[in-house]
Amino acid sequence: MNIFVCIKQVPDSSEVKINPETGTLIRAGVPSILNPYDHFALVAALTIKKNNPDAVINVITMGPPQAKAVLQLALALGCDNGYLLSDVAFAGSDTWATSYALSQGIKKIGKADLIICGMQAIDGDTAQVGPGIASQLNIPQITFCDNVDLEGKKVIAKRHIDDGYDIVEANTPCVVTMVMPKDYELPFPSFVDIHKASSKTIITYSADDIGAKKEYIGLKGSPTQVNRIYPPSKEVKTTVINTTSVEAVEKIIEIMRQENFIK
């Protein structure tokens, strides 16, 4: 049984601030972390492995050389193999190009029975890469799950919907994206496990190694072009209504309608 987990190294968003003048992220002193949703995806894969000791967990990420840190973390948590897709040609990839690169990487490494991704990364919040991989590989996808299991060639996942959840089944191979239960405490590895993981080899693949076409990766291969990043305006408008309370209430309701707070 071959499980793939796609993970990403992201800046710790709780530490990031935006420079209001330039609109750019202030990254000074901001630590990089494993995207928490991906961390939960690792937990899901490790839970499956606990019940299926023969399962092999391959962890894959795309990023600069320092992204090895999240792969070593995954290995320390108990995953089997780590793969880094790293090449200047990948720089600037949007979600489409990233999905393409990851799916090429997965194809290169071996046959996947199950691909688990975090629902989204906390730096971009797009939730597009998991479904993108399913689309690139032309396999089914189950999104927004907080639990996933494998029974033979069947994937069973608990999928969250607005007013409850669905239990969804799909045949392998399949992509599942994970949401995280509220207040879930993600596991952390011991010093011993981290040390052991440091001696495991992490394989690095370039764009050529995975047979990625240059026109589908990087900034040039990305259909999405980011125009500008800026924080939402926090402007406060004040209107003083100086009249009787009945008229004031009517006026407030009218303003709220105009501002689309009520219909």
Binding site: E15, K17, I26, A28, G29, I33, K68, A69, Q72, L73, A76, E185, F188, P189, S190, F191, V192, I194, H195, A197, S198
Partner: protein, 546 residues
Amino acid sequence: MAQLDLITRNLMLDSLKEYAKRKINYDFIREMDRLNECPVEILKEMYDPKVLGVHLISIPEEYGGIGGGTLDLYRICELLARIDLGIATSVFATYLGIDPINVGGTKEQKAYWLGRIARERLMVAYGATEPDAGSDLVNLKTKAEHVVKDGKIVGYKITGLKQWISNGGIADLYTILAMAPGGPSWFVVERNMEGFSPAHHEDKHGIRLSNTAGLSLDQVYVPAENLIGGVEGQGLLQAQAVFGYTRLMVAAFGLGCGWSALETAIRYSQQRIQAGGPLSEKQGYMNKLIVPHAVNLEAARSYIEYVANRLDSGEHGLQTEGAIAKYWATESGNKASEDSIQALGGYGYTRDFPVEKIKRDVKITCIYEGTNEIMEMTIYRGRWQEHLKTRGNYYLEMAKELEESSKNNNDSGMYEAALGLKALSVILEECRINKLTRHQYVTFVLGKLISMAEHAYIFSKTASKEKFSDSVKFDSNSYKAMSRVFAKTAALKIAQEGSALVLGANDKSTNLADKINLSEIEKRQYGIINDMDIISRSLVQVFKSR
């Protein structure tokens, strides 16, 4: 000692942070502090290799540990101190207790004892200090007498008292320094040995989560194989061999406590609105209470890392360097936490905020592993010899190196650091010519000035590099500003305090201001206020309010 790779070290730091976030929050620490209680269960869990295995970092891989380098241990110690210095002290006591075995043990002893400590998660204590022997271990009273059978020494009976022993009441294993017939020697003593009894847990000013107790040894029999190294009389050498390294860990404690208090103050300053704006925007507040401490602490960090890297590259001893690092980092940490209370005003004086506790805790770093007065003497002794050996050129050579480098680029204050080194050289020479070091006080002050000058030397070189250590949280612009402020301040202090010292001890020194080039040092002070403003803005960015 080989260092762990950067990713491995950072992952370990992350795991320790995460553990502390879940298990050692401030409410818990505050209650343990109030109760004067050591959280033994927490410590045991931290030693559990399935949870953390924090003790394994000081045990070589071949004996079942992880085998971290000095740099790794300093980072762990700094983080432990940020979490709680009492807990840090307890973990450090195990590191320290292991040292005599690591340094002096035979291969078999290392395999047996270190293997057991690793496997059985044993807490260790280091038993050197006695009621009448603190920094002067030569006055050791604890005796180890031969037990002879069939004409052969089969063991020792140890009798004596030990005092201020961290982990004293909770350790499983003790390394005890005792006077054997062949001289001071280290012995391994197990808790359950007959005649061994720890005293009560001391009621201390700070580090109340660290168990501190006296030990009573009454004819405690230990087999001959518990004599570390198998040869008597090696004890003091074995103790001194690790001072460079152990004092560096206490330096890391000063650094961790100082930054922990300062971070609290910086985050608070952004929330506390006074006279229409946050305190963090008040130049006087920041440049008086916060910025100077951030500068001193980052100077301390650069020096700690410099010494750690030297030890890890295979150099031995470095006792003077260890003392310089310990002295400056702990003095800076102590002062930073003092001003952090001030920065929080009335809130800082309550136990609702952690700075009051940090201030109580950090004071011990100026006392244990050799008081800072002993550090001043050690620094003076070590460098005085260098000054004499080189005929006064020791600091002039360093100054020359910085002057040369500063010709290309002086954005990290190398020129000013060189002025401080040259002034120090003049002060030392005046002390030599006029025989001023007969005054003990002069030697203390020289120890302090030497520490400042050498920190300026290392900090200005470190900050001039293109890439900084990953432990530095600041961008190049503000880090260089810190180094400039430090170099300028150090040069002026060396000049002023050094002159006052020389002139206060004799009336024969003339033209001192010219000799130390005081006018140039004064001229070079320009720009400090602007640099402090740069640092202030950077601190607020790095330590954002939560």
